[in-house]
Amino acid sequence: MIEFLSKELNWIDVEYWFHVLNDLSLLYIIVPFFVLEMIRYAVQKRLTKDLIFDSVANVITFGAFFVIEIILGILAVTKIYFWVYENFSLPHLPLNWITIIACVLLADFAYYWEHRMMHRIGIGWATHTVHHSSEHFNMSVAYRFGPLDAVMPIVFSLPIVMLGFDPILVLLSEVFVQVFQTLLHTEIIGKLTKPVEFIFNTPSHHRVHHGSNRQYWDKNYAGILIIWDRMLGTFEPEVEKVKYGISEPLRSNNPIKVFFHGLSRLFRKINRTQGVKNKFLVLIKPPDWEAKA
């Protein structure tokens, strides 16, 4: 077993496996599942204009996010990653199953913290609120991104590179976590078996995360493994029926409004906050923080 796990692998094979799991999953699971969700909505007579426009806005925000991601990637991210890897990294790890599994686990753990930060600091919520602002819950919501959603992961994945993991493997692992997360955005799947619900993040756990019910706020940040939430005190099971959305509803499917509403609300809050220090604190304090009058 150890021999198998530690056997050195070829990059061509590893990149192919990630290509199948990450890129092609859109074709063989995500799109078919989304179609199934639409049929279900139709059967339940819930296929409203609002839902369709909401889904279209989701895809458009993904397009904008993707452009920002590509520009950032070309300009800086990969260069920074490789520079850190060459200059500030522990001994480079060989490409084998042990390294891949460890890298995915660390990427998943980094995702937990990055996600938690997105909820708990003002600037993070200003971009991540876009993802939560939909009042529906289906696979298209997974693609509803904010303008700065590509930035925060950099801060949390660089330490993985510093631990000796290849930058490309780190990026592939991050996408893998994101793809797993995408599959959780569905109402079709109820609760799974207890061992699975205990260890893994599931649609049920993630519905809770999207809930605007008070007890569901800032819970279940996990990507793949829900055990991070259990260990770090943010787990909440799905009990009460989930009401999706945010506490201050957006009430618009205009893609531009959807994409920028978090930032515009943040700027309005900064404008009405007195004092330079307080204005800065709005960026790093929790979203519900208000300066003392």
Binding site: S6, W11, L90, L93, P94, I98, F109, G164
Partner: protein
């Protein structure tokens, strides 16, 4: 949950996963623990003052080849040639391998065409061997591709006393070069 608890639990998780991967990487690299370059296989001056550059150390090779007959321990320092047959260059590049600090560095010193006529090269450093136990090693190799130079992790495997193979795999673009002692 207290911030300090969050911090310590998070650090424990990171250390457990990354430490496990590093430990596995360390243990599964069979020669990693055996040496850090300064072993007697490499330190020419300390082990064999009569040894001259370019000669193989027969005795040492025999002493260390008992368990893996295909591999012998050899001295890397000295001049080595690699023959290429590509659109960019056809002929032999001559490298001078020198021990510098804890690493062995290879410098490109000469180009030789197919007829053996040589031309001095600029002496640029193309290879840093960071770990080597006389049979296998690891390092960083400079690979030029479409005008860009990439620093690529590479592995060294000794074939016989006068030959080693240098292999690398850069995200699927890899090669194995045969280096011959001159």
């Amino acid at each position: 949950m207290k911030s300090s608890t969050l911090l310590f639990r998070s650090l424990a998780i990171i250390i457990f996963i990354a430490g496990g991967a590093q430990l596995a990487g360390y243990l599964t690299y069979d020669t990693y623990a055996a040496n850090e370059i300064e072993t007697n296989h490499l330190d020419l001056e300390e082990t064999d003052t009569t040894y001259e550059e370019g000669e193989s150390k027969q005795g040492e090779a025999q002493d260390n080849s008992s368990d893996e007959p295909l591999l012998t321990t050899i001295e890397l320092q000295g001049k080595w040639g690699v023959t290429y047959d590509s659109e960019d260059f056809t002929g032999t590049m001559v490298y001078d391998l020198k021990k510098e600090g804890k690493a062995i560095n290879a410098y490109l010193v000469e180009y030789q065409d197919e007829n053996g006529y040589g031309e001095a090269a600029n002496g640029e450093k193309v290879l840093v061997i960071k770990k080597f136990d006389g049979k296998k090693g690891k390092g960083v190799y400079s690979v030029a591709y479409e005008g860009e130079t990439y620093e690529v992790d590479c592995k060294i495997t000794i074939i016989d006393e006068k030959t080693f193979q240098l292999s690398y795999d850069y995200y699927g673009y890899g090669d194995t070069e045969t280096w011959k002692k001159l």
